[in-house]
Symmetry: C2
Subunit: 516 residues, 2 copies
């Protein structure tokens, strides 16, 4: 073979491999639409049929991802003398396809299908159990989920190089992150958050959350949601919109590039609840929408990790969305849109109220400071379940004990306790830590952004989100899934993970608001 | 082998075959949800991604349906000495799977995928071309569709035993029906309809359609739609609903058993438009919802044909929904729901107005009598396209000529002419005849039902649809896809296809309304 022939066969193999990966991406996005529909539009009786559809598509995805042709193409590509000449993007694509291939070939198709089916059932039962405050109804379904995930974790541990089965689950969301790394980070975070919380609680200068208790009709809240989407440059209204906003009890984002949808909930007597959920989900959505267009359908054309995703949702929700600068621009607009519902509220009172620090029971309603304490509870429980130290039946009591210890609140029933989140029903064990890691990342990203954009707060107060968006796109979104989280963090911020910046940001912000 | 072993291996093979068929059913219903979403909820920019998803799933369906294992299982089952002991349902399942297998193995996977992709593109371009009244924009996409369908028709002709390629397309919707059979039926129908139309037109007793021109806000129309759904026992509201109503320009029904959705359009100044489209689609939807539960996921657990589907939608829309008896019950309810918008309208004027016979340009707004003339135009054009007698570029002019001849109306532009329907863009050539066949069937079904339920009109005027539903379920829905249309028609009505009953029904109804 001549060099030319080698190169040509290398690229042909690479293209063939990418064609396989593209099918997998398209199939996953199709499943995504079915999941979205299940949560937002599906008639209730459709649940069994839907669980069969999702199970079948997950079987197809498994077959596609484990087709021996993929293994053979990877071998040919990696053993090709010209391999070193592939560029960084091409090599990353090969790496990501190989990681998925090796992990998926470890998992029996039957286990994958059974997990998908059990997921749909567990979500349905969780809804009913939560409505009737009856953990005993949910428990057997959750036990099945844990059993299926434990089987998968043991199988995946070695191929992922994870120290423990639980680490293999974490790796699904935050590649190469481990409980042993997360533990000390969360301990430092926990101590810092409890200290800030106590200082806020002890301050004589307390906000008046009553200023937020306004009646705003659903339709008006829907218009506010659209206006917020427009502020953060998430297009849901134009004839060529790439998104939409729907309603679910638990807000989420679902989509890929040109079709990225968010959901929110509207509570007529609590309009700020939807405001911050829309900002949060729009942070997720715009990350997806601003991935590099040329990488669509490639493994590298994806967000880096759940932690990085959360860094963006929390950045938009809290660092931007709960800032004085944002509200100095947006409060007059909100007053206008809500037809006087907030007419008597001044900027200072409003900003203090939306930043009230008050330990509470429900994660999704938690304030910025105590939020990660909710996550740390879940992380510690998950880790101990998969280490065999805790049983599903013990979760309610342990949950309540940790909430009493870290947050000082008393859980009255399991619907406001261990059953508050859909994640475990949805089989997402290993996911929760990424929420708190995302907050830690967001502090580091903020620090890095401020070096380049010292004036960013003024732009926000002028109603201009585009400099922030531009910076994030250039430094983060444009890198897609080119690096694992640890490496991406170093690229974006120049540093390894470091809790300090996030705690510094919180101390400075809340010190000012609470006067300490 | 003992007899026992034979039987057991026959049933094992049968079960294995049905398991394959079940996967195919589940996959098709998943595609159905994606199609529904594309028409109702998808952000516009998502169209390319969606077309890739649909194309991929159609490839998978093709692979599933043509898996050689299916051919081998069918051979084993049919050559099994115990084959004759399979019951009628089992034999029908084997027949339907074989028909699909033989047809699909004839079609190259590439052609199937290309057709699915072209379908999504053609629908998108059709929308734009229609909005800008520019057939030249749509023409190249339609030509590609015709070319792809012509390729498929030629390949399928022999395996289906269809006399001509066009008949192979018709067979997809109305198995074993041919243009040679349809031609004379439609000629008789055309003559009868033109005669009734002329008598109505000539009558001095003309309705006043102005009584229907009332302003009814969208939200009120949505409540009316839900109330109509409830009348015809299509559940879209309860916590265990199996349906939902959404909005699209062109109403349609999509779904299977426990998840059957309809769409409608709301025109604020023309509230009866949505009323009859909801009744029409609910007729389709309740057919699907009332198929025998035990046959779910089996080929036999499906509606018989497009023609029978249409017989049900037209039955509910027209035979029930435009009857004096229905409105004697429902007009007071409509007056109440619309808060007086129809306060001054009496029953007689209302019923005459909703049954006004007036040749028009738009099929979906056509009255009951002239409707099938729209269909006959389309049938004649389709037949001639695939016989090579007509080119796509000639369609606008021929369309306009036929409308002038059969309906006496002048088409001003192609958006109200040849581009009014989505079907051809959606690759559904061969589908249109089933609309008119459905009307013919509905007349025969009515005649049969009246023998058993002479009192059915009184039940409707008491607001009770359940006797009609019960009869339809017992005599039609419960048979699913157990028979081909011709055989089913004989089962349900005791007769072969016969235009007389439908024309008799129309003559009697319109003779009374118009006084001839």
């Amino acid at each position: 073979m001549t060099d030319m022939e080698t190169a040509s066969s290398l690229l042909e193999n690479y293209d063939a491999l990418l064609a396989r990966a593209k099918e997998l991406v398209i199939l996953m996005t199709a499943s995504g639409v079915l999941e979205w529909d299940m949560e937002t539009k599906m008639p209730p009786r459709g649940i069994i049929l839907r669980s069969q559809q999702l199970s079948l598509l997950s079987q197809f995805a498994h077959r596609l991802g484990t087709d021996p042709v993929i293994g053979s193409l990877i071998s040919k590509i990696e053993s090709d003398p010209g391999f070193g000449e592939l560029n960084e993007v091409q090599r990353r694509n090969v790496h990501l396809i190989r990681k998925n291939y090796e992990e998926q070939t470890k998992l029996p198709e039957k286990l994958v299908a059974e997990t998908a089916r059990q997921r749909a059932i567990a979500i349905d039962v969780w809804k009913k159990a939560k409505a009737s405050r009856d953990f005993s109804l949910f428990r057997p379904e959750l036990e099945k989920v844990v059993d299926l995930k434990a089987q998968a974790a043991v199988m995946l541990k070695d191929v992922k190089g994870s120290p423990t089965p639980y680490d293999a689950l974490v790796d699904d969301f935050e590649p190469r992150m481990t409980a042993a790394q997360i533990g000390p980070i969360f301990d430092e975070l926990k101590a810092g958050l409890i200290s800030i919380t106590q200082r806020c609680q002890a301050s004589p200068r307390q906000p008046n959350p009553g200023v937020l208790e306004r009646f705003v009709p659903m339709d008006v809240q829907r218009r506010v949601a659209e206006s917020l989407a427009s502020f953060v440059l998430y297009d849901v209204k134009s004839g060529q919109a790439g998104g939409r906003i729907d309603e679910t009890e638990h807000p989420f984002t679902q989509g890929y590039y040109d079709d990225v949808r968010i959901t929110t909930h509207y509570h007529e007597k609590n309009p700020t609840s939807s405001i911050f959920s829309v900002l949060h989900e729009a942070g997720h959505a715009t990350y997806e929408q601003n991935l590099p267009g040329g990488w669509m359908y490639q493994p590298v054309g994806a967000a880096c990790s759940s932690g990085f995703h959360e860094s963006q949702s929390r950045f938009v929700e809290n660092i931007v969305g709960r800032s004085t600068e944002f509200w100095s621009f947006y409060l007059p607009k909100l007053k206008e849109l809500t037809d006087g519902a907030f007419a008597d509220v001044d900027l200072g009172s409003f900003v203090r109220a939306i930043n009230q620090v008050k330990p509470s029971k429900i994660r999704v309603e938690a304030d910025e400071v105590t939020y990660c304490l909710h996550i740390i509870v879940r992380f510690e429980l998950e880790r101990d379940i998969f280490a065999g130290k805790v049983k599903v039946s013990e979760l309610p009591q342990l949950w309540n004990e940790k909430y009493a210890e870290y947050l000082g609140v008393k859980i009255e029933n399991d619907s406001e306790g261990v059953m508050q989140d859909t994640h475990w029903a949805a089989t997402y064990f290993g996911y929760f830590p990424s929420y708190a890691l995302g907050n830690v990342y967001s502090g580091q990203i903020l620090h890095a952004m401020e070096r380049d954009l010292p004036d960013w707060r003024n732009s926000i107060s002028r109603g201009d989100f585009s400099p922030v968006r531009g910076w994030l796109r250039e430094h983060l979104y444009s890198l897609g899934n080119l690096y694992d989280p640890t490496d991406l963090l170093r690229r974006v911020t120049g540093e390894d993970i470091n809790v300090r910046y996030y705690l510094d940001y919180l101390r400075s912000k809340y010190g000012e608001l609470y006067g300490f």
